[in-house]
Amino acid sequence: MSLLEVEDVEVRFGGVVALANLTFSIAAGEIFALIGPNGAGKTTLFNVVSRLYQPSQGAVRFAGTDLLALPAHRIAASGIARTFQNLALIPGLSVLDNVAVGAHAATSAGFWRSGLRLNRGEERRVRADALGLLDRLGLADLAQRPCAGLPYGTLKRIELARAMVARPRLLLLDEPAAGLTHAEVDELGGVIRSLRDEHDLTVLLVEHHMGMVMGISDNVVVMDLGAKIAEGPPADVQANPAVIAAYLGAPVEEV
């Protein structure tokens, strides 16, 4: 059964068509990669699913519900979490509190309960969850530190922890491997797979690192200039002449 269905989605910015009639669907439990050259519309699609961009036509359904009927802040509660290409952490909060922000949709204490400290049980649970994830990602030592000044790879993992803390069903990762070292990329691939297995997760991945994409994905969609040019398992896509022409360039020899 497909968990996310993107149907005939079009996004325009003025005269520019950022996404053109894009259609694909992701089965529950898959790791699904979205690849293509810069400007192909991959992040635009993420922003449509996050409800940050309004498509001019098309439909997006998540587990059967119409996502386009929800405001952006309700997406997290419906079971979708994401990371950002250029990081969207909160410099004014500690690492632990950054992760705790991710639990916002899964918790409920408002102004009254928070002001009168009737939120203690919930706070304890959130902190335990956040610490657990930081520990899982090897960041527990940094929990009390401010985010500012930490290395890029560490910040990416903090963002991953923030996305995971709400226990999403669908995780959108926007270039998680960018800026990481080779060793870190290999490790990240392993982390994504095991998170998927442990948490019954579906992953939609935008990534330029072909080694990682081909290594961990079950299915791949290749985009160019806002349109889908190929779709299928990694091996098929890699051999597709249109993909080689638009994106991979030559027979794949890197990795």
Partner: protein
């Protein structure tokens, strides 16, 4: 930080705050009635700064209109006490509710506009408020002001209007001024405690998230509009409590107390004390109080070479000091103290623990 260092740190925080509590509680016993009344007037300033700090420091919404919200609290209390003769604490609570509603109303435009444009809207509120008071001078007393009075039997046995006071119950053995200080200090302490709880909670995290990265907040599920508007309301309610206490202490309200200058003083208190900290507004209020009540009266009325009236020039002096402070210590007093503590901690740690440990970047086990 090492465990021993952290323990030392916690212990020194407990000692310092213990000493502070004792000093704050002892002040009315040490000071005479005049000075007790003076420092009691710093409490409403601290409350207004607390409210503004929640909005500007933690949530990133700039308001230069809190003088008006402070005024709404003061006039609400004045009218409630004069017309309905409610108990003073009930009047303060009611003023907080009224100001919450007013704050939500002022905060609504903040959903569409941000930063400097929002500051302009609140500037309009601040400048309009005294005009509105003048306009309705029948009710508000305009610039002449409105006395808050009670009918009391005077010595000759005749009912007469008498300015309200905070009366100390006889069992306390305190003078009225001392009692007023303790009561309003308790109200302020309660407000500070609630704000502290708030900023360290799910709500506080979402306020800071909105300030630092609105998209990240929204994607995490924060209803940005609701949090912004409610923060504006709570912030206004705190300023309203301050205004209400101010009105009771003065037993009079007049439009001159709630001009743009009041708003700016609140902002200065937040910035000097240290924005986005709990102690900041209190420290900032004390700093401004000291400046107004201790430094200013001590200034000479004429400085010889240019025959300059230093007393009249206090806003200029305050402004200059603010600019210099911002250059030297952008984090305010609290920010500088934190920096100092971090530096001392590093220095204390170095000989014992060797080089400062660097955070690990890789290696999931």
């Amino acid at each position: 930080m090492s465990a021993a260092g952290r323990l030392r740190d916690t212990r020194s925080i407990i000692v310092v705050s213990g000493v502070l509590v004792v000093v704050v509680l002892a002040l009315p016993q040490v000071l005479d009635a005049f000075w007790t009344r003076r420092i009691t007037l710093w409490i409403p300033l601290a409350l207004a700064a607390l409210g503004l700090n929640l909005l500007t420091g933690y949530n990133g919404q700039i308001s230069v209109g809190h003088g008006a919200l402070y005024g709404v609290g003061a006039y609400s209390t004045a009218l409630i006490l004069n017309e309905w003769k409610w108990p003073q604490l009930a009047a303060i609570a009611a003023s907080a509710v009224i100001c919450f509603v007013a704050g939500v109303a002022v905060g609504l435009p903040a959903l569409r506009i941000k930063g400097l444009y929002l500051a302009l809207v609140t500037l309009a509120v601040a400048t309009l408020f005294p005009q509105v008071l003048e306009q309705f001078s029948g009710t508000t007393g305009g610039s002449a002001g409105l006395a808050i009075t009670n009918q009391e039997m005077n010595r000759r046995g005749v009912l007469a209007d008498r300015a309200i006071r905070v009366e100390a119950p006889t069992w306390t053995g305190l003078a009225d001024d001392q009692w007023a200080y303790y009561v309003f200090l308790a109200v302020a302490a309660l407000c500070f405690l609630v704000v502290r709880n708030l900023v360290r909670s799910r709500v506080g995290r979402s306020m800071i998230a909105i300030r630092d990265n609105e998209v990240a907040a929204e994607v995490s599920g924060v209803n940005v509009a609701i949090v912004k508007v409610l923060t504006f309301g709570v912030s206004a309610a705190l300023a309203g409590v301050g205004g209400a206490i101010f009105a009771i202490l003065q037993a009079r309200v007049s439009s001159g107390s709630f001009t743009l200058v009041a708003s700016l003083y609140f902002l200065v208190a937040v910035v000097v004390g240290g924005s986005a900290s709990i102690a900041g507004p209190a420290i900032g209020a004390v700093a401004i109080g000291l400046f107004q009540d201790v430094v200013t009266p001590a200034l000479p009325e004429s400085v010889t070479p240019w025959d300059l009236n230093a007393k009249a020039a206090t806003p200029l002096i305050l402004g200059t000091m603010l600019i210099l402070l911002m250059l030297a210590a952008p984090g305010g007093i609290v920010g500088s103290a934190r920096q100092l503590r971090a530096r001392l901690a590093v220095r204390a740690q170095r000989p014992a623990d060797g080089p400062i440990p660097t955070p690990t970047t890789g290696g999931t086990p």
